[in-house]
């Protein structure tokens, strides 16, 4: 996890808590700081508190405790319309009774921008999202992707320094979503906007963000760059939530520095990196990514631990092969290999040996 020096923090949550009913905390002790121009994604399952954080930032919810600072000024008591934060909503929230141009000109009108300036800015914003031909359409006459672009343009047209996006691509189909992911990141970086993006789609989070904050149970479980998050999960929730993951349950047998030996429940022993287990005898969940598992003996390191496995299922997915194995009592152990010319197709029932690098194997909390 990269430490951001406080003096460069543009947007900060300081010990923020939020409760709706006075009994349970939806957000528990949130600390977060973002430098200017960063694209940060809040990722988490529904009910994890990520949307509440966004709403507090936008000003639609007030923090029960703690401070939210924008450019080092507390904004807790500033009403939403004075915060100057652009926002893209889940269902776009384009005003249905206004044309596209009127929708875009709305934030400028309420800011008393002169008519001639307004027109220029609206057209520039529409050009930015390649929607300049649609200025006279009503939102209902646009496709989902077009509405999405207009919503984006509307959130950017008044040149806010911070833009919030609440699952903006949730309603689009896969292809369009991938395209828009690219468009949004491009725009955000080109304009140097500080972006807070909320999603429950981990692929979206990984591909778009500078950093990702994984939320669960009202806390940030890990705040890191996408590659760190995927390759160095700090706890078993993050390991499970991000990407596909194989879990083997066992007990720590010995620890030597950063690595150690884990005895699996069926008695076999494997080497693993100790991430958040510190005592010998602790229960642990060992996590291995499916694509880091090797069953081609020639490609395995000499010192690699191997486990016996039985192929249960073969799934053809086009670009990759996917095998379901039974390993050390786990019947849902997944292995993926690229559909390369030399790829081996394993048949169900086949008995094989699998192995991996100790570095790819993380012993996490049980």
């Amino acid at each position: 996890m990269t430490e951001i020096p406080t003096n460069s923090a543009f947007l900060q949550f300081e010990r923020v808590q939020k409760s709706y009913d006075g009994e349970t905390l939806v957000v528990k002790d949130l600390n977060l700081s973002m430098p200017k121009g960063e694209f940060l994604t809040m990722l988490g399952p529904s009910g994890s508190g990520k949307t509440t954080c966004l709403m507090m930032l936008a000003g639609f919810e007030t923090a029960t405790h703690g401070e939210i600072l924008l450019d080092r000024k507390p904004i807790n008591h500033i009403p939403p319309h004075k915060r100057g934060i652009g926002m893209v909503f889940q269902n776009y929230a384009l005003f249905p009774h206004m044309s596209v141009a009127e929708n875009l000109s709305f934030p400028l009108e309420v800011r008393k921008v002169s008519k001639s300036d307004r027109e220029g800015k609206v057209m520039r914003a529409l050009e930015m999202v390649q929607m300049e031909e649609f200025d006279n359409r009503r939102p209902a006459q646009l496709s989902g992707g077009q509405q999405q672009r207009v919503a984006l343009a509307r959130a950017l047209v008044f040149e806010p320094e911070v833009v919030l996006m609440d699952e903006p691509l949730g309603a689009l189909d896969k292809q369009l979503r991938e395209h828009m992911q690219f468009e949004i990141t491009r725009l955000a970086h080109n304009l140097g906007i500080t972006t807070v993006y909320v999603t429950h789609d981990q692929t979206e989070a990984l591909t778009m963000s500078d950093r990702v904050a994984v939320f669960d149970d009202g806390r940030i479980q890990q705040l890191a760059t996408p590659d760190q998050l995927y390759e160095e999960p700090e706890n078993s929730f993050v390991a499970q939530f991000i990407g596909e993951n194989n879990t083997l349950i066992g007990t720590v047998k010995s620890i030597a520095g950063k690595t150690g030996i884990v005895t699996l429940d069926n008695g076999e022993e494997i080497a693993a990196k100790m991430v958040n287990v510190s005592n010998v005898g602790d229960r642990t969940k060992v996590s291995i990514r499916p694509e880091r598992v090797e069953f081609n003996r020639e490609r395995l390191h000499a010192d690699a631990h191997t486990l016996k496995a039985e192929v249960k299922e073969f799934i053809y997915m086009g670009d990759i092969f996917r095998f379901r194995l039974a390993v050390a009592g786990n019947e849902d152990f997944i292995v993926k290999t690229r559909n390369a010319p030399d790829a081996v197709k394993l048949a169900p029932g086949q008995k094989i040996e699998i192995g991996w690098l100790a570095d790819d194997c993380h012993a996490l909390d049980a």
Partner: protein, 533 residues
Amino acid sequence: MRCRKLRMTVTNSFNRTSKERDAVVSAGPMLAADGTPLKKSLARALRVQKMRALLLIAPLLVFVLISFIAPIVDMLFRSVENQIVSDILPETVMALETWDGSGDQPPAEMAFEALYLDLFFATEKKLHTRLGSRLNYEITGAASLFRKTGRRIGRFGTDVLTSQIVAQSPELANVAAWQELMGDTETRSALPLTARTWDRWTEYLIQEGDDVATTPLEDIHFAALYFDLRDGVFATNARLPALDITNYETVRFRDEFASADDGWLDVEFWRTVQTYSPRYTPGYFLNAVDLKKDYDGIQPRPESQQIYVTLFGRTLSMSLVITLACLLLGYPVSWLLANLPARTANLLLILVLLPFWTSLLVRTSAWKVMLQQQGVVNDTLVWLGFVDDASRLIMMNNQTGTIIAMTHILLPFMILPLYSVMKTIPPSYVRAAKSLGATNWTAFWRVYFPQSVPGIGAGSILVFILAIGYYITPEIVGGTSGIFISNRIAYHISSSLNWGLAAALGTILLVAVLVLYWVYDRVVGIDNVKLGG
């Protein structure tokens, strides 16, 4: 890429084959698999569905036809229907056809003779008073004129004619002779008035269940025969015993009527009869807009009788005020309901609907208790010292009372459509507006309000249309200055029994509502009316 290409070729080849198949068939109409035209086979497939739909709505359809459509058609018909004059006074109407009423003289003797025949039957059938009250709508005094004369008609000196004819030709005293005479076509065409009178007579007797052969003859037959012999061109063709009427002593019917009531000499009365003799009349409608039709054409009624235009105007303006009041009071409540958590909103919604659980009459009577000068509101104001005991507010038996009570009663009809429309406006719109920099007011006015307009439209139409036809509440708390047109309609239906006028007033009300609806559609668009969803 290769895969996609492959799929494209597959699609193309599929298209080609289907095109080829079409080409084979395209010689004639599209055919189904069994060779019948596709349209026909589709219609057959849908017929069962249609029949089922029809059966499902049939009970309601029949009910609506009988209980709603038919009465409305009947009402529309009654507002122009005027058959009573020509049905009861057929001979008189015929005699007046050629009368020029522009002078200051009543019509000639012939009209009075015809009137005598008509009135004889009317009195026998006891219809003369009904005709009297019908004509009384148009000219005052007609009712008593007919009533009085009805009592006198039997004592007109018409037996002179009878005795003279019987003296010359004694067999005419027998019913059988008349029956034979009137059975003969040639005689009938020679003596048309006599024939018509005989037919009316026999028809009347059959209706009463009497036997023509045993019922004594009346003077009317001899009078009619005398008129025919005197005026008839072909009277000589009749197979009659020779009658010479040249030296007869005659009856002056005009004088007979005048001695019964000198109202019969009023030229105005005769003009009215002539004006209202057609079977259909615009008279009721003219009356409903404070006009009348007389010999000189359509003109306004005397000022003292002009009430309906004012009443229509008041009904419209007060309904508008009530609608506006409902909107102003209902809008914030609906907004609150739509934005509260479901549990609380449901509880409050029940409170809104609570008035529906009490009788309308009870609620209105409660307002009577509240609003009267010694009532709860006044007592409270006096007790608080806002109002002096001597000058208690008059809030009832005037327009204020009607507006207060009706606003309260119709409020749920505004709140419910507003609520259901507001429920569909996602909170994200207002949030979006605020995040874009709009103040609370701007966000409401520019974003929320325009989207609630369909609800305002639906609620306003509902309240306005209900208000415009309201009856009970204005009747109870409206006094004289707070009553609506429907109270007047009710009066004509149940008290004055002028159903034609009531129908005309009702029709105008119906048309007014339809016109307003049409205007609303033009201005706001009926697609913009939502009752929810």
